[in-house]
Every structure is written in C-alpha cells, then in structure tokens.
C-alpha cells in the first residue's frame, strides 16, 4: 500500500518520457525562477511565447517560492541542476550566489537604464523597483515623509520578516543604508507603529487591503496595479526624504548549463523590447531597459524618489546579519 506513491511516480516518469519523445529535435531551455514570475498573471507565459517564436526551442520554467528560496534551491541542486538560466535573484543575494561558484560570466554588453550604475560580471538586471510604504489616500491625507516622522506618528504599519521575505530584507537594508549606526534607534522608534510582521509579502499586502494597517511595505509601483488593472486611483506610495532602497532583479547563466548557447540567447533576449515591454504590467516593476514605446499609461503617476539607495552586493552581504541582529533586538524589547 505504501507502494502506491512510488507506482504513481514511475507512471508519471513513464508518461513524461513518452511525452518528450516526439520533440527530441527541439532543444529545451530550462529557466529556474520564482513562483510569481511564471504564474499565469506574471510575465512568464508571454515571455515563453515571445522567446519560443525566435529560439526554435522549448522554454520551460521551473519555479520556487521567491528569490531567497531560489538561491537555496540552487545550492541544494548544485552542479546537477537541469536549469541553464536562473532568473529572479536580487542584488542582496548575488554575492552569496556568486560565492557558490555555480554561475558563469554572462558576457553581455548591453547597457541598462537603472537610476544608479549597475554592472556585475555574472548577473544581468531585467527589472527593478523602489521599496516604499503604500497607503490609501482616501484614509490618510498627509502621509509621513520619512522614517522619523513615521516613528513619531501613531500610524500602524505592517512589514515583512527579513528572515523569510525578500521585501523584509529590503526594508532592513533600506533603514541601514539611510541611517547607518542610527538604524537601531529608528527601529526602536518604529516598534510601536508595527502592528505585526508577516512571513511574506502576500500576507502583509492582504492585511493592508483588508484595512488592518494604514501602510504596508511594498513598492512605489504597487499603486500602478490598482490604477491600471482595477481602475482604482486611491492607493499611493509615500515618498521618503531619506531616499528609497532599490530592488534590482537579475538573471544569470549557470556554469554547468546544459544549453549554454540558448542561455546566452535568452540573456540577450532579456534586454529586448519584446521581453522588457511585458514586465511593467505583469511583474509591476520598472523594466531594466525602457522599451521604445515607453512605459504603460499610469506609470507616469508613480512617485520618483529624489535619492536612490542601493548597497553593492558585497556591502549587502556584509550588512545583512548584523542588521538582522539589530532588528531582532530593537523589536524584541
């Protein structure tokens, strides 16, 4: 009876083998990414269609939870990974990712339109955004303009745990990049504003849309979703005078890629308008290269931070553990 799953496993294997026989001529490019990228509401399906039209290949996405799980998964698979490309790490993880030795230089030379210079021999950016606190402008007329004002207010915010969430880690580094040694003090001030800390972005955003919190940690481009997809102009991101920490999402080629040429072709395709024009209204982030047609209507209403904050991969790697300890100490009091 315990054999049932194994019997099913072998049936499944047999079926896959069977299904793959007719396309032996078509090479398969496997891209490992995070879940929301490949979901039917993410960029994945449109990008698959666009790339398959030019590559003469079968593009297959495998997905795990998010950027951090992506790195963990890669470390579990090691050199055995079937994937040729990993897409969805952010710059807070790239130092750790490079250190695994699993990545190969991408060799691409195309420039990007990021607000701060970014270049990494192993990783190419495909989109980026700013972290921000999002609020409902019908309920909150004058949002705070920096962390200190937020800490002094009696506004209630919900944030994500840096131990289990990429935006949570982003906020940790935002405060660190903006305040350096004063970060602990800022967190202590924010402690009474934070109603709770959620494991991931979805729970926090769900609580905010349900009206539990006045503000939620998300992105400056989050209001674009409500504006464009729901025709709802009430959500806004609060501009902070310290500047906004950036999330730059990148892709890289694996050193043991089963399909190195296709991987190169995919990374080059990533910079094309065909790929980049899909990003804004599926991933709700800024494309790394602004397409010739510009950004979709609605994006011009998003705030543009005066200062862009971003630690280098090495700084972020060095800062995260001490910053986490500060955060834990300040909020556990």
């Amino acid at each position: 009876m315990r054999l049932i799953p194994f019997a099913l496993a072998f049936t499944a294997l047999a079926q896959t083998a069977h299904a793959q026989t007719p396309d032996l001529q078509t090479p398969v490019l496997n891209v490992l990414t995070y879940d929301s990228f490949t979901s039917e509401w993410g960029p994945g399906p449109a990008i698959e269609t666009a790339f398959e039209a030019v590559c003469g290949c079968d593009l297959v996405f495998s997905a795990v939870g998010d950027g951090a799980e992506l790195l963990a998964r890669l470390q579990l698979e090691g050199a055995r990974s079937e994937a040729s490309v990993v897409l969805g790490l952010d710059t807070n993880l790239t130092a750790q990712a490079s250190a695994t030795g699993l990545f190969a230089p991408h060799g691409q030379t195309a420039a990007n339109d990021l607000p701060v210079p970014y270049a990494d021999p192993n990783f190419l950016p495909y989109d980026w955004g700013y972290f921000a606190f999002v609020y409902d402008s019908t309920k909150l007329a004058t949002p705070p303009t920096n962390f200190e004002e937020l800490a002094a207010s009696d506004l209630k915010i919900v944030i994500q745990d840096p131990r289990s969430s990429t935006p949570g880690l982003g906020l940790l580094l935002w405060v660190k990049a903006a305040y350096g040694d004063r970060a602990s003090e800022i967190w202590a001030g924010l402690a009474d504003n934070i109603i709770t800390v959620t494991p991931g972005w979805s729970e926090a955003y769900g609580m905010f849309t349900a009206g539990e919190a006045d503000m939620v940690l998300s992105y400056t481009t989050s209001p674009a979703y409500h504006l464009i997809a729901e025709d709802d102009a009430t959500k806004a991101a609060a501009p902070f005078t310290e500047g906004h920490y950036m999330q730059v999402e990148v892709a890289g080629k694996l050193a043991n890629a089963p399909q190195p040429e296709l991987a190169d072709q995919f990374l080059a395709f990533m910079g094309s308008d065909a790929f980049q024009s899909i990003i804004p209204t599926t991933n709700w982030m800024y494309p790394a290269h602004t397409p010739a047609a510009g950004l979709p209507a609605g994006f011009e209403q998003m705030i543009t931070p005066a200062t862009s904050l971003l630690m280098s991969a090495e700084e972020a790697q060095a800062a995260r553990t001490p910053a986490l300890d500060e955060w834990l100490t300040a909020l556990s009091r």
Partner: protein, 512 residues
Amino acid sequence: MADRAVTLIAAGLAAAILLLLLAPLGALGLKVQGFGLSVAELSALRFTLLQAALSAVISLLLAIPVARALARRQFFGRDALIATLGAPFILPVIVAVLGLLAVFGRAGWINDTLAAFGLLGFSIYGLQGVVLAHVFFNMPLAVRMLLHGWQAIPAERFRLAASLGFTPTATRRHIERPMLREVLPGAALVVFVICLTSFAVALTLGGGPRATTVELAIYQALRFDFDLPTAARLALLQFALCAAAYVVAARISLPSGFGAGQGRKGGPPAPLGWRRGVDALVIIAAALFLALPLLAVLLNGLPGLADLPASVWGAAGRSLGIAFASTAISITAALVLALASAQGRGWAALAATLPLAASSLVLGTGLFLILQPFFRPADLALPVTMAINAALSLPFAFRILTPEARTLYADYRRLGQSLGMAGRAWIRWVVFPRLARPMGFAAGLVAALSMGDLGVIALFAGEGQATLPLLVQRLMGAYRMEAAASAALLLVLMSFALFWAFDQWGRRYADA
C-alpha cells in the same frame, strides 16, 4: 487471530514512518555533537513551549463543556454544528488568519462595534492573538475527540447510573471523569504538538520577532543562512519535544475500563434546570466563536467566485486526486497502527504521533536532496505530496481511531476468539462496524487536510502542476487578493464537502 499479522505490518509501517521523518535530517547533514542552543534559539524555544501549552490547555478547557453539552442535548442544527466543527481545522492558514482578523482585528467587527459604543478597542496582536487563533483551529477538533469519548461510553452505564439515582455530580465523577482521564491527555497532546510547529500564525498574529517559534528558526536557517545542519538540529529538537509530550500524555492517560456494552443507543442524561441554560449558553458561544470568522471567509470570497480563472478547475482536480490518495494511505496506516497500539504496543502510538512534530520545510528539503539525484523533482511533485500529506495527517487519524480500537480489543477480543473469528470475518463484522464512526471522521479530516495543506508541493511543483492552495498563493502574489479569497473559498467548500461526505458515511454506517 490476526494479532501477529497486525503487529508485523504495524512494525513495518512504523519503521517506514521513522525513515521518512529521520532520513531527511540525515540528508541535511545532522551532526550528533553540539546540541547546545544559542540565545536566540532558546528564546524561540521558550515562546514555542509557552504558546503551545497555553493553546492546548485553553482549547481543552473550553472543549470539555462544549462536548458535554453537545453529547447530552438534542436541538435543531446539532448535526450541522457538529459537522462545522471540522471546518476551522481545515482552513488554509492565511485564509483563516484573514477571517479571524475580519472579526477580531484592528478594523474587525468586534472592534468596530466597541468603537460605535465609544468603548476602547483591544489588540489581537501578541501572545493573545496566537492563542486565540490556535484555539479557533484546535478547540473544535478537541470537541470532536471528546464527543467521540462521550459517545463511546456504553449506554448501559448511563442507564445503570440513572437506576441507582446518580446526581449529575455523581455521573460526572464515576462515568465522565474516567472517560476524560482516558481521552483528554491524547487530545491535549495533539493540540500541543500541532501548536509546537506553528509558524505563520505565530508570526503574523504574534506581532513581531518576539513571537519567533522554533519552526521560524528552521525557516531562517534554511533560507536566510542556508545552514542545513542547524535546520536539521532544530527539526530534531521538535521531534524530541513531541516525544517528551507523548511520554507525559501516556503517563497521565488511564484506560477507563467501562467494559463492553450491547451497542444500544442513548447518550448521557440531560439534566434540567440551570444546567440546561448553561449548556445552551456554551453551545451558542462556541457556535458564534467558530461561525463568525467562517462567515468572514465566506463574505470575502463570494464576490469574485463567478470570475475565477479557468485554471482553478485543473488545480482543484489535482488537489482532489491528492486528497483521495492521501486519505487511502493514511487511514489504512492509521487503522493498522491503532489496532497494534490497542494490543499494547507503545511504539506504534509513538510512530503515529511523531509526524505531528515534523517540519514540512525540513521534510521537503531533505526529500528533495535524497530524490533529486535520481529523479526530476517535477515528476515527483504529486506522489511526494501524497506521501507527505498522508504521513502528516496520520497522527490525527490515529488519535481518532485509537480510543475505540482499544475499547474494541478490551471488550470483544475474547468473544471473537471464542467464536473462532479470524482475519476477514473479524474485520468485517467487528472492526468496521465498531470503528465506522471514528473512521469516517478521520477520513474526512485527512481528506480535507490533504486538500488544504501546502505541504511540500511548492518545493517540487513544475509547470502545470499547481494545486488549489498553491494557486491561492500565486493569486495573492499577483496582487489578486479578491480572486485569491474566492479560490480559497472554493478550496474551503471542497474540503468541507469531502469532510462532510466521509463523516456522514461513518455516522450512517455506524448507526445502520
């Protein structure tokens, strides 16, 4: 008699369960030396134990009067209420949390009502919120377990008590207390261990890193630090806590020793007077406590139900398939282990309890490491999910079957032997009819849990393999909160329909 065969099969099963639980720890590189805990881990351990103990004690203290009232009163809607008791437990965590927040949250119904009367609101965030959510999940489960306990008392005992002129107090002391002494420790153990591995509820309602549990520390080790041996060490700590709790519960638990009845109908006496009023209040309060968050889940999900994406149906089909397969595996295993445990094999009970303390993240990661060299992960997504769901739901099925399996052995074994009943006849004429009621309930619970549990699918799933819970998560990740609420409602309705169908079957079969 088939005792020997049962013991042998049970031993094989127990070994397989231990292997399934411990091999992943080995794969993660568990080191035997150096079990010292860091300061942060110690405080996580303290919080974990505190919230789990509080949740278990409060769930059980509340469950006793509710179960007693349900056992001795007949009223309109009683069957519906008993069926609904299964619902909170099978809600996906995030859906349940949003449902609870709609009632008890900052902007929830209760705080809104208090504010309308100019009264000060209260905050759900903190230890109180964690315990509230755990009681919401587990108190109904405890009620069902205790209710089975009351229903398992032979009707002849109550008749005898009535003819001896027992007062309600005397009934309580001589009939109900021995039953509780037998059933309560096991029920408390289950609730305590479930709460031990709580992570999302504890963090979200705990209000911040003060509410760090051991499971969150495991999460951090795997994701933030990529420190596999630490994750394995903490997972072993969870098993050790579970084993310790098991030993304590086994020490406290005493067989009630009522002896066999003749299977007559008739429950405990229903005293009149003020006890009637108290029972009514208890039932109304429990019903409201459970129904309000469920109502919120329903109201959240209804608006978008008509325009769900077409992909939900494929996902729902996959989830149903997993649920049926997991239920078949889990119930068969639970029955064998419960029969072995009824013969006094303690190891069978321990093996059937340990999966409760398993961290599904560690289990999934370990299995991934073990299987990945030989298989493509996506090919194994559905079978692995079935196997893990079956293993993780086994403790519930086992706990539900065990008290009655024990009674069955104590009361009918000699009769069966003297009639020369063996093998199939014994199972057909004694085991199935006597165990149908708990088996139906257990199967319903397992099926519903397997529908809702994310388990490890997220770690293995490839393209086109999303189950309904994974789809809910994807919808939320794509800002589609309303569609996610509707897909979650669909999940809840399907889980509940499965639960209800199995449970109903069990009760029909038992009464037939």
